[in-house]
């Protein structure tokens, strides 16, 4: 089977998963306690207006029909209206998505850049001090509540040391957002050659990014270390060493390339954590992403907004996993659909 066929088959596999996600979010909407129509109509609604809203929302239809209507809405990108902002939920989410993506990707990049060398070093120099450091970071990292780490960093770097900017959003008030190209302020600032703006955006990004990275560091470093240890103990590595290959080549080409597969699988799981932890970090740093939008919506029981948020996060996660699996297929020629 060619790689393209495999990738295509994997894309097709995502279809039932996405269908499952849509079913769950639909059922969550219908699980509202009490009468959703009365709920959407607000506190001062008359029986007539409730009935009117029931018809408008299609709640007088049977459940399968409602589901079909929901699917039609989704197909046209309609996630409903946000009660708190009065805007369509899809617009709100799209507007805030770049902020969340910038934070998530930056954090992931940071944690990969630290965790993988750390895990490799810990495996190569097993049972030395660097292995102990790695073990400590791994155990501490999974125990740290993200929101707590974030607050701690703010206290130390903003209040005590005064190095970091105030944890209030993506950009200092002195700067004007650069013209939008990628939606990532740091990149946009660089593209527009507004160095001061890019630097300010980067400084704002640093603390929340580190907070998220600390959280994702642990599973990645742990898996890197375990996978490297396994690869180092393998027979093909013994052969490679016996054949007199240089130790760098043995390590980087033979051991690391094989160890990469479980690491990439772990990345998928880490993404799930990151998307969840993102919500908490955004709240701590007043980051104007979709996470803080969802929290605001939760507080005022803005129902369509929360549903849209859950749905879009899940779809994002499925797509990310798809990308990861594709990368996996490209890296490992042995992968077959059955395996």
């Amino acid at each position: 089977m060619g790689q393209l066929t495999i990738i295509l088959a994997r894309v097709l596999q995502a279809v039932p998963t996405i269908f499952g996600i849509v079913v769950v979010t639909f059922l969550l909407t219908r699980a509202l306690p009490g009468d959703p129509a009365a709920y959407f109509a607000g506190a001062s609604a008359t029986p007539e207006s409730i009935a009117e809203i029931r018809v408008k929302l299609g709640l007088d239809q049977s459940l399968p029909l409602q589901f079909v209507a929901y699917l039609q809405d989704l197909a046209t990108g309609n996630l409903g209206q946000s009660i708190s902002t009065g805007q369509p939920v899809a617009t709100e989410l799209l507007r805030r998505l770049p902020a969340s993506l910038e934070l998530t990707l930056f954090a992931l990049l940071l944690s990969v850049a630290v965790a993988i060398p750390l895990g490799v070093l810990a495996a190569v120099k097993q049972d030395t001090w660097i292995d102990q450091v790695c073990r400590f970071i791994v155990t501490a990292g999974v125990s740290l509540p993200t929101f707590f780490t974030g607050l701690l960093l703010v206290y130390v770097f903003y209040f005590l040391l005064g190095i970091a900017p105030a944890p209030l959003g993506r950009l200092d008030m002195l700067h004007i957002a650069p013209p939008q190209v990628t939606g990532f302020l740091v990149l946009d600032g660089l593209i527009a050659r507004e160095w001061a703006t890019a630097w300010s955006a980067f400084k704002q990004l640093l603390l929340p990014g580190i907070t998220l990275a600390l959280f994702t560091l642990a599973p990645l470093a742990r898996m890197t270390r375990a996978a490297m240890l396994q690869a180092l103990a393998s027979e093909y590595l013994r052969t490679a060493r016996a054949a007199g290959l240089s130790s760098t080549r043995v390590l980087m080409v033979y051991a690391f390339r094989n160890a990469m597969l479980p690491i990439i699988t772990t990345l998928g799981m880490v993404f799930s954590f990151t998307l969840g932890a993102n919500v908490l970090v955004e709240k701590v740093f007043a980051w104007p992403g979709i996470g803080s939008f969802a929290i605001e919506a939760l507080v005022v029981s803005d129902y369509a907004a929360v549903q849209g948020f859950v749905l879009s996060m899940a779809v994002l996660f499925v797509l990310l996993n798809l990308v990861i699996d594709t990368v996996y297929t490209l890296i490992d020629p042995r992968v077959r659909i059955e395996g």
Partner: protein
């Protein structure tokens, strides 16, 4: 190596009573790794605090003293006072019970439901296996914390729903372990022997196979516990479930967060540290237990 010698010591010679054997094994577990011992002591301490803490605290956790608001830690108030003059130490101690209660009940629900579901799927296979597998895949397709937010938002903002949401997002972990452990044992020698001597299928599953799957399940439980605490605290941090003025670690950190940029660190630090300690304890305990059950997966 030590494992093998110990087992042979335990099984060979005159068999001591079951209690003595358990005690010996317990002692072996505790002395083999000091970290596991520490985790066990911390865990026991936490349970004691949860049980007796509310009786022992020096101040009423809900009593507000406006003249003593936002005082740093002192001899009178070990962890300082919050914006309403409530004693932070008392609140942190009292919160232990609620936090443990939420996570223990959530984990218990997902343990029982997950074990039942996974065991049936692993033992009989067939359509139930396929259906439950699909169901679990769908849960895992969501970023789990986000799914929990959605469930609580849909079902209503109560502590009970926090427990249910946490239970649902933890369900796949138990169901998968149970399914894997049961399916590798369903045709083991002792199972065939039990079947041959006329035990019903359900009886075999309940009394022959399930007890053998308990060790890996317990490891999963302990590793999962810390995560459940983090999740529940995260939910209350964003304002779901627990309502003020109830003392709970997540919500206390959230309340303290507003004061951290003006330098009142003790409001958020102490509940956060308590939360961290609880999660750390359960993670250490889980790692220690895993080393015992499966020395191969030591990392």
């Amino acid at each position: 190596m030590t494992d093998a010698t110990l087992t042979s010591q335990l099984t060979a010679g005159s068999r001591p009573s079951a209690f003595a054997r358990n005690l010996a094994h317990f002692r072996y577990v505790m002395t083999s790794n000091p970290v596991t011992f520490l985790a066990f002591v911390l865990c026991a301490g936490m349970i004691l605090v949860a049980l007796f803490g509310p009786m022992l605290v020096p101040h009423d956790p809900l009593a507000t003293l406006s003249d003593k608001a936002l005082k740093p830690p002192s001899w009178d108030h070990w962890f300082g006072t919050d914006q309403l003059g409530r004693d932070v130490f008392s609140r942190v101690v009292v919160a232990t019970r609620l936090d443990l209660l939420i996570s223990v009940s959530a984990v218990a629900i997902s343990f029982v439901c997950g074990a039942a579901m996974g065991a049936c799927a692993g033992y009989w296979g067939g359509w139930f296996d396929k259906l439950s597998g699909r169901f679990l895949d769908t849960i895992m397709a969501f970023p789990l914390f986000v799914l929990a937010m959605g469930i609580v938002a849909a079902a209503g903002n109560t502590i009970q729903n926090i427990v249910i949401a946490t239970a649902i997002i933890n369900l796949p972990f138990y169901a998968r372990v149970a399914r894997a452990e049961v399916s590798i044992r369903r045709n083991a020698g002792y199972v065939q022997a039990a079947r041959l001597s006329g035990n019903s299928e359900l009886r075999i599953l309940m009394f022959k196979i399930l007890p053998n799957t308990l060790p890996p399940m317990m490891v999963q439980l302990s590793l999962n516990m810390g995560w459940a605490i983090l999740n529940a605290a995260g939910l209350s941090f964003i304002g779901l479930g627990v309502r003020p003025p109830t003392a709970e670690w997540g919500i206390m950190v959230a309340e303290g967060a507003n004061y951290i940029i003006s330098g009142e660190w003790w409001l958020a630090l102490f509940p956060g540290a308590a939360l961290m300690l609880a999660v750390f304890t359960f993670n250490l305990l889980g790692d220690g237990l895993r080393d015992l059950v499966d020395p191969q997966r030591r990392t």
